[in-house]
């Protein structure tokens, strides 16, 4: 998974073509850490069909807020640089993320 931050977010996500998943996480967010291995596994599985990024909100707070993220965990989906969908809080589960990926790839 590609680590994105304030210096490369524009290029890697907002200027990117096609579908991009961004895992907004933070080191103090236990549920983010819990789901991280699942997202990594999904990146292995679907990495050739969409781009997987993760964003540590610690140190990138303003960037997160600019993306309307003000709480964790959030898995956001962008298509051609446009945020098109997201999962937040309790909805962030392996099953839901995979279902959303399949829905957006269809």
């Amino acid at each position: 998974m590609l680590e994105v931050h304030k210096d490369n977010f524009e290029a890697e996500v907002l200027q990117a073509e096609g579908l991009v998943l961004v895992d907004f996480w933070g080191p103090k967010c236990e549920s983010c850490l819990a789901v991280m291995p699942d997202v990594e596994a999904l990146a292995e599985k679907y990495g050739d069909r969409l781009k997987f990024c993760k964003l540590n909100t610690q140190g990138n707070r303003r960037l997160a807020i600019s993306q309307k993220v003000l709480g964790l965990p959030v898995i956001a989906f962008y298509r051609n640089g446009e945020k098109i969908d997201e999962l937040a809080k309790d909805d962030v589960t392996k099953e839901n993320i995979e279902a959303k990926i399949l829905e957006l790839l269809a």
Binding site: K28, C29, E30, V35, L70, G71, P73, D90
Partner: protein, 409 residues
Amino acid sequence: MSDKVYDILIVGGGPGGLAAAIYGARARLNTLLIEKGKTGGQAATTEDMENYPGFARGTTGPGLMKAFTEHAESFGAEIVRDEVVKIDMEEKVVHTKSGATYKSKTIILAPGAVPRTLNIPGEFALRGKGVSYCATCDADFFEELDVVVLGNGDAAIEEAGYLTKFANSVTIIVIHDEGILDAAPMLQERAFKNPKIKWVWNSTLAEIKGDGLVESVVIKNVKTNELTEMETNGVFIYVGTVPQTEFVKDTGLELDERGYIVTNEKMETNIDGVFAVGDARVKYLRQVVTAAADGAIAAVAAEKYIVEEEGFRQSVLEEDRPVAVVFWSPMVQKAIEMMPTIETTIDSYGEKVKLWKMDTYRNQRVANRYNVTKNPTIVLFNKGEVVATLEEDAITEDSIRQALADLVS
């Protein structure tokens, strides 16, 4: 399903489940813990942890829970990340979301509780956009911003204090009259002195507004029904918790009307070999220290259950000879007086009849299963089946010989 049968299977990896795993694994029992997320439960979502005995300020919830987890693993407890979706309580078979099944001799339920939601307009849509139930997770987003906290129990007041380390201001919305909080006095004192905390009394939230991010809340005065809108960037909701017991409904497990699991002081539920610990059970105080205590009790009770059940099964139910099980207690005078007659009579049959003494003071469960209420009571088993029951004064040398007559040639 593999053929492996665990001794103790724990559902849930908060402090209650982890403590049970520590005690179980240390007693050399095959202990499996299944947790759907990260271990630590709710305790891992509270940063300030200053009331766990022996760990003063500076200890964090996640830090303490990491130590619990490592402690359990160091004794050999197996921790699996999966979600339990169904339990066959009688057979003690657990089914998980990933499709795995596990069999165990005992089950300790430690599913915990989750924050209660308000279900007001805007709350659901703005989760992760300013609406939060976890200050530890989200507090640092709110540096130099304004937040409101709804609630006035320990969690609300403690987390509000934590939020003041980040936010510009924290407004606590309290349903009670001015000055009245449900939180512990020490937390109240600290909050009232905190210059960053503001108070709104006699009020609750009616709505959370915002386009993409939280912009304001609508506060409702519960005395006047008056609505006022207040600008804010975040809303932290601490209005109690609900037990995560949905998955054990309709399994025969006894729950109270709010969904909490009913146990006795040994953490036994109404189902033999199934125990419950922590926030999901009916109890007076829901804290890390009481959850851990529950876990220790349940693991020890489970260990005893295994020993007793296996002992009874091997020595009585699977015995080829007739077995006279004497339910008695050395605390009951009549039982002590009658014991010599019972022993001499049974012994006279030599190897043909087995005598098995069961202390009802120590093991009430087996006694209950065979409806034993009198002390002493003899229950005569043959090939695992009850063939006769003799109680108190009905127990004489003659009556014992009569009951055995058909079984012993």
